[in-house]
Symmetry: C2
Subunit: 516 residues, 2 copies
């Protein structure tokens, strides 16, 4: 076996069995190794940001890392924005970055760059595979790092010669370390129990792995036992949500609304997250959103086990027998008439099939709509944690590959969709069950609001022209057609409902343009 | 004036009068300042790689830097691949990177990243504008750096508070330093004169500013006087080319052909470049392309003045009266029949109007075609110096803005075009005279050849599927329509000729799909 073959088989031996790839010349041996290993699924992406975003989506639904294959420093650079988003979402991933062979580097050929330098700001772990002999070891460590809780970004740089050299001996591997979540400190648990027993208004903010499964259910029991409210940040990596799940209050995005929401809580308890912070700074607004005098108590640190923490807390509260209050199913009438945030939400809630996945990057429209889907069929909701737009269409792609039996709804603004629109092609190629919903308001609408929020006054005509994207107006049906995705445009609530429902009837991708 | 207004007026005071922008919330004051300064042209791009590539194209045609506006670390990251290409092309640019306000950074909000860390690997100069008071000074230095010869990448990080704070006093500016090219050493000139007098077979390789204007013409006189051949690397930032210009031999891309081309030269003389190096390393091929025993002599270093060097060389050779031999006009018949590299080249050569600009990123098709356009009407040829694909459509955008009276032909493979296809939207918005020619072979054709060159054998079906991009086949006419660009598809040589000629008749962009 050569180095590339060893790398791929080490990945699959450790259950990393998908590779989102945009290969180049220096990765031909790796491509051969991908092709030669039937345990590895290779997914071609036409732009690297699609590959890294898809790996993020895969992790969110699978809780295990995918791999990516990127072409030298610039290929990595193209994937960095979605690596940033994945890092902020605590998604693990293993990036393989092709590199010139070692002997060639000293001649500084055109594609040479400082790959370590580019990787380090957004990776938890960076290593160069110095030889084919070390690749199995390096790969094992990369997978172990990516598989930690919270997930980590591991970047392995693969020089051409390490790829094509033969491996002489059976690889030596580090001893496997099971990724375990740390136990929270019992002092912290007891302190939080005292806070909760006080009966003072308390918000418990859940994040990362705490917004799902046993942790969420047990948090619900704590809430039922104590009267504390359960909430989430505005953005969360993944929430199990809808009928039958413990509901979470969402802290609003805008600073005044978030402050109004938080002002009556005397205590904030954090679980795998920190106290609420404004997304951006504004000249006349604070960065921290809690009221003066509100106390913040950390229950679960990012690398700890939330479910265990809630078990301990229920014990400390003597509330192990209490049941959680779950969200009842709210049946929504099919709306008719004009499209607005409410009718959009109602159409969505009425049409969403059980176990669907919502990937939300509809900054303006969705912000007002998504709360109204809380009583829909049970589903997962995925948000952008890093704030770099262009995350939704790739993440939806990865989520659909991770969960082939579930329909993914990718709700995305027109401005955001244009960053990584190449995702549609991979969705068509792999016949993925993704319904892309484009909210086409022909503007970076969020910036219009933010312009005033920032105290920059009323935008003049020239500044406004830099926020509007309606000259030319993007033809979304033509865009979908160009990459082999069927599409429909809607301009009424009933049309939108029908389009969503229709999109679930047959496998494969489609695009709905919502004309706003 | 606030910091943002000071920044924009400092840019325009120093003749940086265009900004390729993809703004976000933290840049609203900058947007207001752009809108408020009529000397600044703001060009909206839907993806940051379009902005940085357009700045590169602007520099190539104007020899002065453009500015870009990017949104925090991830926005910069999206622009890095084309910053890499610009850096390798010695194109100067001033990147303004929006950043959280200083007081907000300590809360590590979602979009926070190590912007300096991301910028440094691909910038010559990085600075954070620590306050509104220092902005005029910082901006002046950024422009001075970007304007050096060779052009430099200057990256100025702009925190929100530096942007919105008022500037209290008239700005203090560093003393202006005229960007001067260094004189080459007379020892080197005399040494090269001795080499040339020897009469031994010699290749003079010109690059960067030496492939145009006075330097190119004087290099032609040296060649005429001495019998030396004039050549270029396979990729050059910009060549003045066609009838009436001194022609350059192009060193082939593939290693065996390049070695065959170089093997008979006893001497290689380099001008603003280095000796030829293979683009990639291959297991059984050398990195350096010259024959054993060939001697390399540096005449002009990257920061020196080539025209002055050739003046000195002509003096040393006693050849100041010799005339250059220039390329005669070769009139090409309009080809008919099948599309192939020759008929494509002939159609292009026959249809190219005087003073057009060719931006070439047609890795497979163009590699064989472009040599046959040497006798066309005078034009400029622009290549990708950094090897990161996705450079052509943005560079064509910037070149068209720089030269509104000239038609730009962007020759691009289908695979490459998909990286930064958002360029079409900016071309439509600004009604730019760009004819985008998509060579649609539905594959990363270059990788098919490279797979074998790499010694990876014959690709199996699974590996091959990662090189083909024909499932689904991209519908280029729909793609053009989606972003408001008219298009035509051609499948014959005469149809291609007609489409090129038609595209020059009216202002504005169009797209030609060449079905291969």
């Amino acid at each position: 076996m050569n180095g590339a073959e060893t790398l791929v088989s080490t990945l699959t031996d450790q259950d990393v069995d998908i590779c989102f790839a945009n290969p180049g010349t220096s990765e031909m041996h790796f491509l051969a190794a991908l092709g030669g290993n039937p345990r590895m699924r290779s997914v071609l992406c036409l732009f690297e940001g699609v590959a890294t975003g898809a790996a993020d989506g895969w992790y969110r639904m699978k809780d295990k890392p995918a791999s990516t294959l990127l072409h030298l420093g610039p290929g990595l650079a193209n994937g960095l924005a979605n690596i940033h988003n994945a890092k902020r979402a605590s998604s693990g991933m293993v990036n393989i970055i092709g590199e010139h062979s070692t002997s060639h580097l000293k001649y500084d050929p055109p594609l040479t760059s400082d790959i370590e330098g580019l990787a380090r700001p957004l990776s938890h772990w960076v290593r160069r595979a110095e030889s084919a002999e070390s690749i199995a070891w390096d790969t094992t460590q990369a997978v172990a790092k990516a598989s930690e809780h919270p997930g980590q970004i591991a970047t392995l740089i693969l020089p051409g010669d390490s790829s094509w050299q033969q491996v002489s001996a059976a690889p030596v591997l580090p001893a496997p370390v099971a990724a375990r979540r740390k136990a929270p400190s019992s002092e912290r648990v007891e302190h939080v129990a005292r806070v909760l027993r006080s009966g003072e208004p308390t918000l418990i903010i859940l994040a990362n792995k705490a917004t799902r499964g046993g942790a969420l259910e047990k948090a619900g029991r704590v809430a039922a036992a104590t009267g504390a409210r359960l909430g989430s940040q505005f953005f969360t990596a993944r929430i199990e949500r809808g009928a039958g799940f413990v509901p979470l209050l969402r802290i609003p995005y805008a600073v005044p609304q978030a402050m109004a929401f938080l002002k009556d809580f005397k205590h904030i308890i954090t679980v795998e997250t920190r106290e609420p912070v404004a997304f951006f700074a504004y000249p006349d607004k604070p960065s921290l959103l809690k009221a003066e005098g509100t106390m913040v108590h950390e229950l679960v640190e990012a690398d700890e086990d939330s479910e265990l923490a809630f078990d301990m807390l229920l014990q400390a509260l003597g509330a192990t027998g209490v049941s959680a209050i779950v969200q009842p199913r709210i049946r929504t009438e099919v709306p008719t008439g004009a499209l607005n945030p409410t009718s959009i939400a109602h159409a969505l809630a009425a049409a969403m099939p059980e176990q669907c996945i919502l990937v939300d990057e509809s900054l303006t429209t969705g912000r007002e709509s998504i709360g109204l889907t809380l009583g829909a069929q049970p589903h997962d909701l995925i948000n952008n944690m890093g704030g770099s737009i262009g995350y939704a269409t790739p993440v939806a792609t990865g989520a659909a590959l991770a969960c082939p039996d579930r329909r993914v709804f990718c709700m995305v603004g027109d401005g955001s969709a244009m960053y990584t629109i190449q995702s549609l092609w991979t969705q068509a190629r792999e016949n993925l069950n993704v319904t892309t919903i484009i909210f086409a308001n022909n503007t970076y609408a969020i910036l219009k609001a933010e312009y005033a929020n920032m105290g920059a006054g009323t935008p003049g005509e020239r500044a406004l022209s830099m926020i509007d994207i309606d000259r030319p107006r993007i033809d979304w049906q033509a865009m979908a057609k160009s990459m082999g995705v069927p599409s429909v445009a809607v301009d009424s609530a009933e049309g939108f409902y029908r389009a969503i429902a229709n999109s679930t009837r047959e496998p494969g991708p489609c695009l709905i343009e919502v004309k706003l």
